[in-house]
């Protein structure tokens, strides 16, 4: 039984976890249970609706890299950079100057560092350190600060360092303007460089400690961590031409759940020929899938666990050593474990810290050639590996410089079905046939948090969402229903 839709929902008992804590935006999980508490249906819903793509339409294209930062308070820089990459194509900038390319990379690694630190230390470590069904009053960062003050302190300072990298490269701490179509609008001064260099070795050390902490937690609870919410999935990520992890730019690599390559080094300007999106009436969030495999079987997983396991190597030494140990650990068991997302995330945080160090020693960051332009184009696609996974921005701009179409596929949307699978697996493993408690329900949330979902920017355009209204009587029985369905997109460029 796949648990997406109960065969006979009538008469089942409904339990909602609403809202899910420690995720951005508003998510909701509904469980339908029969009279013996057996789980018959599990769904992760997205409650908040933002309609951001519609909001972008009609704006002058040069405003977009700044506007899209308002999509999300957690990863604004990822949207800033993905939009800039798309608009590079609009202004005909197919190869940026070394200064612009490296400044943007530095900004991006700052974003990866701060986002991963926030997620691991503040949102997930309470579950991991105290236990999934530990005392709820203690299961938060305050509890961590009391029991493990040094861990909490390092988490705050790692996050702060990432924010400082962003401030120096984007020009401001938030709503930065550093990246513009065709390049950047400032370089990194020597004073700014020296300020960041001062602490980077400490940051690398703490990041390495965090990898070891994540590994230690996995080892300590090996059987549980290996099995918890485990499912098999296809994967999708960007990859550098030589197979290295590259979080800023690359070609698309997709592999099936047996490791067979479906496509590799694919030019992302043609993503829409390979990635389609399905709409389901019970969720505002779309369900992307690989066209080659179809909507039923073609869903996939993105993010740190995919990137760490599907790259050929990580191009910084300490993170690469940790990746090799991760891949070899327990015969490779961690590579498919939902809770190994945390370990992989910390390996990426270490990589980001090392990459920041390397970039800070590169004199190109002080260069003066900031922007290039070329032949104007109508359509631009930008893709980046954001902290939570692959992020796509796709725009069409008319002759008046206005955005006339926009399509955004964010990391959390890519992981929509994968998160649902993890939640259903946990429901089978922990909830089925048992009386529900807060601790048991938190297991569901632990599975969702492993993906670090950012739900507020994951919903899609105004006018395209399917609506389903259900009228229930006092006993919870459905007495009326109204549905407006939307078809899945079918092989056409969404922004053309």
């Amino acid at each position: 039984m796949n648990l997406e839709t109960a065969t006979h929902p009538e008469g089942l008992r409904r339990v909602a976890i609403d809202p899910i804590s420690r995720v951005e935006g508003h998510g909701k999980v509904t469980l339908l249970l029969d009279e013996d508490d057996h789980v018959q249906q599990v769904r992760l819903h997205i409650v908040e609706f933002r309609g951001f793509e519609k909001f972008i339409q009609g704006r002058p294209y040069w405003e977009v890299p700044v506007m899209v930062q308002r999509l999300c308070g957690i990863c604004p820089v990822s949207h800033h950079l993905a939009a800039s990459k798309a608009l590079d194509q609009i202004v005909g900038a197919h190869k940026l100057t070394p200064t612009a390319d490296k400044l943007r990379r530095l900004m991006h690694y700052g974003q990866i560092l701060q986002s991963h630190a926030l997620h691991f230390f503040h949102l997930s470590s309470p579950d991991l350190l105290f236990g999934f069904d530990s005392e709820v009053a203690k299961r938060n960062i305050v509890g961590v600060a009391a029991a493990y003050p040094e861990v909490a302190r390092q988490g705050v300072l790692l996050r702060k360092y990432g924010q400082e990298v962003i401030r120096h490269t984007a020009g401001k701490r938030v709503h930065g303007t550093g990246s513009v179509p065709g390049g950047v609008n400032k370089n990194l001064s020597l004073a700014e460089r020296d300020e960041l260099l001062k602490d980077i070795y400490q940051i690398i050390g703490w990041s390495r400690d965090a990898v070891h902490m994540a590994r230690h937690l996995f080892e300590q609870n090996l059987e549980q961590y290996n099995a918890f919410g485990r499912f098999r999935a296809h994967t999708l990520n960007l990859i550098r031409a030589d197979g290295a992890m590259d979080l800023y730019h690359g070609g698309l690599r997709a592999r099936d759940m047996d490791g067979k390559t479906l496509f590799d080094h694919l030019d992302y300007n043609h993503y829409w020929e390979h990635i389609l999106e399905e709409v389901k009436p019970w969720s505002y969030m779309k369900f992307p899938f690989l066209r080659e495999l179809g909507s039923e079987l073609g869903w996939y997983r993105v993010g740190p666990l995919t990137r760490v396991t599907q790259c050929d190597f990580i191009p910084t030494p300490l993170a690469e050593r940790e990746r090799q140990e991760f891949m070899a650990f327990d015969g490779g068991s961690a590579t498919g474990a939902t809770l190994a997302y945390h370990w992989a995330r910390m390996i990426e945080m270490l990589h980001a810290a090392e990459a920041i160090k390397e970039l800070l020693h590169d004199a190109d960051l002080q260069g003066d050639e900031l922007v290039v332009k070329g032949e104007r184009q109508e359509r631009g696609i930008g893709m980046i590996e954001a902290p939570r996974g692959t992020l796509i921005h796709h725009y069409r701009v008319d002759e008046n410089d206005q955005v006339v179409r926009a399509n955004l596929i964010v990391s959390t949307t890519h992981n929509n079905q994968a998160m649902n699978e993890a939640v259903r697996q946990v429901a089978r493993q922990y909830l089925d046939g048992r009386k529900l408690t807060e601790g048991l329900l938190n297991h569901i949330e632990v599975a969702i948090r492993a993906f670090d979902p950012c739900l507020s920017c994951a919903t899609h355009a105004l006018g395209k969402m399917p609506l389903q209204l259900e009228l229930l009587d006092a006993e919870g029985r459905e007495i009326d229903r109204m549905t407006r369905d939307a078809p899945c997109s079918a092989g056409a460029p969404p922004a053309s």
């Binding site: 804590s21 995720v23 308002r70 308070g73 309470p126 305050v142 701490r173």
Partner: protein, 153 residues
């Protein structure tokens, strides 16, 4: 940094999303305060508060959190806030009290802090500031200018 080489005595943090109608009240107040060029004052804006803001509170004489509110009576309220370990700890967005509590855990007693809650009405994506909120913003700006006038040259 102030003339003595330390952090400016007054920190004002405006919270909100400039693209969500009256949610822009916090950042807009900061924009208006920037034009006054107040000495010994640092002005920051963000979509939401997170734990690292505890680090920004170090060495301050006072801190003011400015946010739009659907609950505050118009035009605004200005109240002290104390450290509290509330439920916002488990989210991506901390309350001002939770930031103060994080400060307390890391560094000890936090500086005196206040919340300026400016009444807003509409928070939809793409909305402009409502007329009511615009009037409330002016009232809040006048209040801030008067209250902190001893920082003016």
């Amino acid at each position: 940094m102030n003339e003595a080489g330390g952090a400016p005595a007054l920190l004002v943090i405006g919270i909100g999303n400039p693209s969500r109608g009256d949610d822009a009240l916090g950042p807009l107040l900061i924009e208006r305060l920037e034009t006054l060029r107040l000495p010994d004052v640092e002005l920051l804006t963000d979509f939401q508060l997170q734990v690292e803001y505890a680090l920004d509170l170090r060495g301050r004489g006072q801190v003011v959190f400015v946010d739009a509110s659907l609950e505050a009576p118009a035009p605004f309220t200005f109240n002290p806030v104390v450290a509290v370990a509330d439920a916002s700890y488990s989210s991506h967005e901390l309350s001002p009290g939770a930031v103060l509590h994080a400060y307390e855990k890391l560094f000890g007693e936090p500086p005196p802090a206040f919340v300026l809650a400016i009444r807003g009405e509409a928070f939809e994506l793409g909305d402009d500031l409502s007329a009511t909120a615009r009037a409330n913003l002016e009232a809040a700006l006048a209040f801030m200018s008067q209250r902190f006038s001893d920082t003016l040259p």
